[in-house]
């Protein structure tokens, strides 16, 4: 606790002493300021995102035109793309690394890391994170793990290629696939460091939210963003260690001859000595993280949209308590549904029944959230900023993707669509696209806070609409391809004439993917040029209630010059009127949390 006190004191001192000099290194590189760390997370995440999306374009091109030779394959894949023909093993590697990068590096670190760091201290009224130092370490571990993951792409025998779920024995045996050699080792090392980073970050978020809220900021007055980040961090702390142990056991099987996951294997003319292990054990351990991971990715996005939808609707979020309860229910249920990834893994079918039950239960809080979003729009005065469009887009893809979850979560129906493109379409919509929309919404909304500049809204509109059409264009038809029984992770479908008539649709999907990716260039241009040439932001451009907009546009260490303001109300007093039908604060349709209750005003939301 002394460290905390010290940080606070330091921040206090600093707030009063503006002439204190910081070196380039302490300000931009080894910064302990949560706002700078948040930007570091964002930029690293975006760079990883570019790599991840570029990979998806490569393998989509391969699926759409399997007989075609692409020079780009030769340029980017080297010996794995000789003469412009993609090697089947590098196809699997691309699929694997795309999944890993997007799930962990972009949507976990890039999304939660960025916005938890930026918003937790700002929205609860804290000078910084509980431990600025651990926060810095957390970012640099993430950076290190990113570097190792990227380096693993250049390994002689190819990067990890056993799918992002790295099921052994495939991931354990270099004899089974080239990528399970050094590539897999680097993958495991990178992920181990990533987990350490994530744990340090999460612990910091939890401690900060519990201890450092400003006066008046009770738990029930916290913005839903904070609730989401807080609960996400808890799920992370609960489930990531299990992935670490799964990875450790895998490392032991790979390097030290143990048999946790391996048994009765004959490969390349040789019987392995391993006996008694089971890959099913790995599946359990992996999905014990893997499923909560979906919510680690999604909850922050839902938190961000809750905030943005309320602000831009000029209305309170509908059913605040139900939203908090849903977040908690989702978090709890998410830790007991992992088995729905394993209905046909060979585990006892009775377990399948249990997991079907818990899985379909999780649909209830999800449905409540969707209905609450829709009701928040109802009779609002919607300010359709790019952030708002992405938030509405998120609700749309969350519903579409969530509904197909009802099919996949049903053990019976899972039998025939398991591991087909139906699954791919489902999870890309519900967690991939939705979380990305959350990320974009957050960037558009808090860009003024991060960089003191405004992003160009017209480019934002173009970005949204092309992405919205493209994303549905990619993933909606993909359900139908999956219903035809087309398996995922197939290098080419041409060995099954039965799939010949799906080819046109695969081409269409790839075209949409290329279009959507092109739209992201608009975003990148807008992002970078706005940092340098964007219009200067005012303090509270979206007329928002939350506390981050009470800080000055120019970043200062410690966030608020002078004392931290106190909080007197919940964050959603938008368009609140008194008995005469006038806004509670005359002439302004919002009442920031730091505004004391007006005379004669009643608290309406509890």
């Amino acid at each position: 606790m002394s460290a905390v006190a010290h940080t606070e004191d330091h921040a206090e001192d600093h707030a009063h002493d503006h002439h204190h000099k910081e070196t380039f290194i302490t300000k931009y590189i080894f910064s302990q300021d949560h706002k700078m760390i948040s930007k570091q997370y964002l930029i690293t995440g975006l760079i990883m995102g570019i790599i991840g999306i570029a990979m998806s374009l490569l393998f989509r091109m391969q699926i759409a035109w399997p007989d075609h030779q692409f020079t780009v394959f030769e340029v980017l894949l080297g010996k794995f793309g000789t003469d412009g023909v993609m090697d089947p093993s590098i196809y699997l590697a691309l699929v694997t690394i795309h999944g890993t990068i997007m799930v962990f590096f972009v949507l976990t670190a890039g999304l939660s890391g960025t916005f938890s760091n930026l918003l937790i201290p700002l929205q609860i009224g804290a000078r910084d994170m509980a431990s600025g130092f651990l926060n810095m370490v957390s970012y640099w571990l993430f950076f290190l793990s990113s570097i190792i993951m990227v380096l693993s792409l250049f390994v002689e025998a190819g990067p990890a290629s056993a799918g992002w779920t790295i099921y052994p024995p495939l991931s354990a045996l270099p004899q089974a696939i080239g990528g399970s050699g050094l590539g897999m080792t680097l993958w495991l090392v990178s992920m181990a460091i990533f987990i350490a980073s994530s744990l340090l970050g999460s612990l910091n978020y939890v401690v900060t939210v519990i201890n450092l809220r400003t006066k008046g900021m009770s738990m029930t007055r916290m913005p839903l963003t904070i609730w989401a980040f807080f609960v996400t961090a808890i799920i992370g702390v609960v489930s990531f260690p299990v992935l670490l142990s799964a990875a450790l056991l895998l490392i032991m099987d790979r390097s030290f001859g143990t048999s946790f996951y391996l048994s009765d294997i004959y490969i390349q003319g040789e019987v392995l000595h391993n006996q008694g292990g089971s890959p099913v054990l790995f599946e359990h351990l992996f999905w014990f993280l893997g499923h909560p991971e979906v919510y680690i990715v999604l909850l922050p996005a839902l938190g961000i949209t809750s905030e943005i939808i309320a602000t831009n609707s000029r209305k309170p979020i509908f059913g605040y308590r139900a939203m908090v309860a849903s977040i908690l229910a989702i978090a709890f249920l998410s830790t007991i549904v992992w088995g729905h990834h394993m209905f046909i893994s060979g585990m006892n079918p009775f377990l399948g029944s249990v997991f079907t039950f818990t899985t379909l239960l999780i649909a209830i809080p999800s449905a409540v959230k969707s209905f609450n979003y829709i009701t928040t729009l109802w009779k609002g005065n919607l300010q359709l900023n790019p952030a708002m469009l992405f938030s509405i887009g998120l609700v749309s893809t969350f519903i579409t993707g969530g509904l197909t979850g009802i099919i996949l979560g049903d053990s019976t129906l899972d039998i025939n669509v398991h591991d087909t493109y139906f699954v791919v379409a489902h999870f890309h919509l519900v967690m991939g696209i939705s979380a990305l929309y959350g990320l974009f919404a957050g960037v558009y909304h808090w860009f003024p806070k991060m960089y003191g500049k405004m992003m160009n809204k017209n480019m934002g509109y173009i970005h949204f609409w092309v992405t919205a059409i493209g994303a549905y264009g990619v993933f909606f038809p993909m359900h139908f391809v999956g219903m035809a029984g087309l398996p995922r992770r197939y290098y080419t479908n041409s060995n099954f004439p039965y799939f010949d008539d799906l080819q046109d649709t695969n081409v269409l999907i790839t075209l949409f993917a290329l279009l959507t990716a092109a739209a992201q260039l608009v975003f990148l241009y807008n992002f970078i040029s706005s940092i340098f040439y964007g219009k200067k932001a005012i303090q509270n451009p979206w007329k928002s209630n939350t506390m981050e907009w009470t800080t000055p546009v120019e970043h200062i260490h410690g966030n608020w010059p002078g004392d931290i303001p106190s909080v007197y109300r919940w964050p959603y007093d938008y368009s609140k009127i008194d008995d005469d039908g006038e806004y509670v604060i005359p002439g302004q349709d919002f009442a920031p949390q730091t505004t004391p209750m007006q005379e004669g005003e009643v608290e309406l939301h509890h």
Binding site: P88, S89, Y167, P169, L170, I177, L262, S263, D264, I265, Y266, I267, V271, S278, P279, S313, K315, F318, G319, A322, S345, G346, P349, T356, I364, A367, F371, N372, I374, T375, L377, W378, G380, N381, L382, Q383, L384, N385, L389, I399, I406, D410, T412, N416, H418, M454, M455, K457, Y461, H479, M483, G485, N495, Y498, D500, Q503, L508, P541, Y574, L604
Partner: protein, 358 residues
């Protein structure tokens, strides 16, 4: 018709760009107000685009269901698959109903309540009754779905070896092919383990097990119609998954353990080939293949073979570089044809002695 969708997309994209350029112009003229925050004009245009978008979504949905209807798998070739298909149909109808309504409301509200300076939003923070209703509806509906689903699941997964006279078949997976082992006269599979793999005994069958002697190892799966088959699945190296989409059947193949799945085929290969659905589907496929063959021949390559439908088993768990081509043909035929075929296959004992005499 793919063209149609493409045109719709391009048109919508065009409209978007056109509207964008319009706003761009307008915003350049009226530089009085603080820019980069949506103004009434933006709200108006974006709200209308929201409405256009939900129409796009409906058109896309309709297009997919109509144009891709031949993508859906044909009627189930197994007994339990009929229940499966019914459950799938009910779930599909339900989710499409919810999808249509919620997407409609979401985008319609986005359009209807697009902001204007003069408008006032309604302060509406809570309504317990409303929230209760939309909690209880999913609860009831899902409870129904869960019970129905679990009932079917237990039915499918409850494999009783005593009931009737089920055929015992082992499916053996290895990188990158399948083998099937029939239990033979005694309908009892001999023991096996990868440690017994030697020479011609590629499945590692235990030569000291008397049950194994009459087993028959083949690379094409023949099944008699209307008789339950119990599959015992065994892997030699990594995880595989035996996926038989036409029978609504799938089970992972796990090294170190024996997994199982059972079904009763009810349509012979011939019957499936003659079904209206399959006749049309195969005709379409062959048309595509002919067109492609022409191109190939023009390039001096071999043309594609004419396609006739057969059931297949494919690997559906990533298993290595050639995962995409790990398949086995399945032939469902009458009991007599099946028996006749089985007679022509040699037993494990015969294979062993053939090896010994070489």
């Amino acid at each position: 018709m793919t063209v149609f969708l493409t045109i719709v997309v391009i048109a919508l994209f065009g409209i978007t760009l056109w509207q964008m350029s319009k706003i761009l112009k307008l915003s350049q003229q009226g530089n009085g107000e603080h820019s980069e925050v949506a103004n009434d004009k933006d709200n108006d245009i974006q709200g209308k685009l929201m409405l256009a978008f939900v129409i796009f979504l409906y058109v896309l949905t309709g297009y997919c269901f109509i144009m891709y209807r031949s993508y859906f798998l044909p009627e189930s070739a197994s007994e339990h698959g009929i229940d499966y298909d019914l459950l799938m149909f009910i779930s599909m109808v339900l989710i499409m109903f919810v999808q249509t309504i919620t997407q409609g409301l979401l985008h319609f509200f986005a359009y209807q309540y697009r902001g204007k300076k003069s408008n006032k939003a309604l302060y509406f923070a809570d309504n317990d009754k409303l929230e209760f209703i939309w909690t209880i509806i999913p609860v009831v509906v899902l409870a129904g779905l869960i019970s129905y689903g679990l009932y079917t699941w237990t039915d499918i997964m409850n494999i009783d070896e005593e009931e009737g006279n089920p055929l015992m078949v082992e499916l053996y997976a290895y990188q990158f092919d399948w083998r099937a082992r029939y239990a033979g006269e005694d309908n009892e599979l001999g023991k096996a383990n990868v440690r017994f793999i030697e020479g011609i005994n590629t499945l590692g069958v235990d030569v000291s097990d008397s049950y194994a002697m009459d087993d028959k190892i083949v690379n094409e799966l023949h099944l008699p119609v209307n008789r339950k088959v119990i599959f015992k699945l065994r892997s030699q190296d990594v995880l595989h998954s035996a996926y038989m989409p036409f029978f609504r059947a799938q089970m992972n193949v796990v090294p170190g353990m024996i997994t199982e799945f059972a079904y009763t085929p009810i349509l012979t290969t011939e019957e499936m080939r003659m079904s209206d659905f399959m006749v049309e589907k195969v005709a379409t496929i062959n048309e595509i293949r002919r067109a492609k063959s022409k191109e190939l021949v023009a390039k001096g390559e071999e043309s594609l073979e004419h396609y006739t439908f057969d059931y297949y088993l494919l690997c559906n768990k990533i298993c290595g570089a050639s995962h995409y081509n790990m398949q086995m043909k399945i032939i469902v035929e009458s009991e007599e044809d099946y028996e006749a075929w089985l007679k022509t296959q040699s037993t494990f004992k015969e294979q062993l002695s053939a090896q010994a005499s070489n």
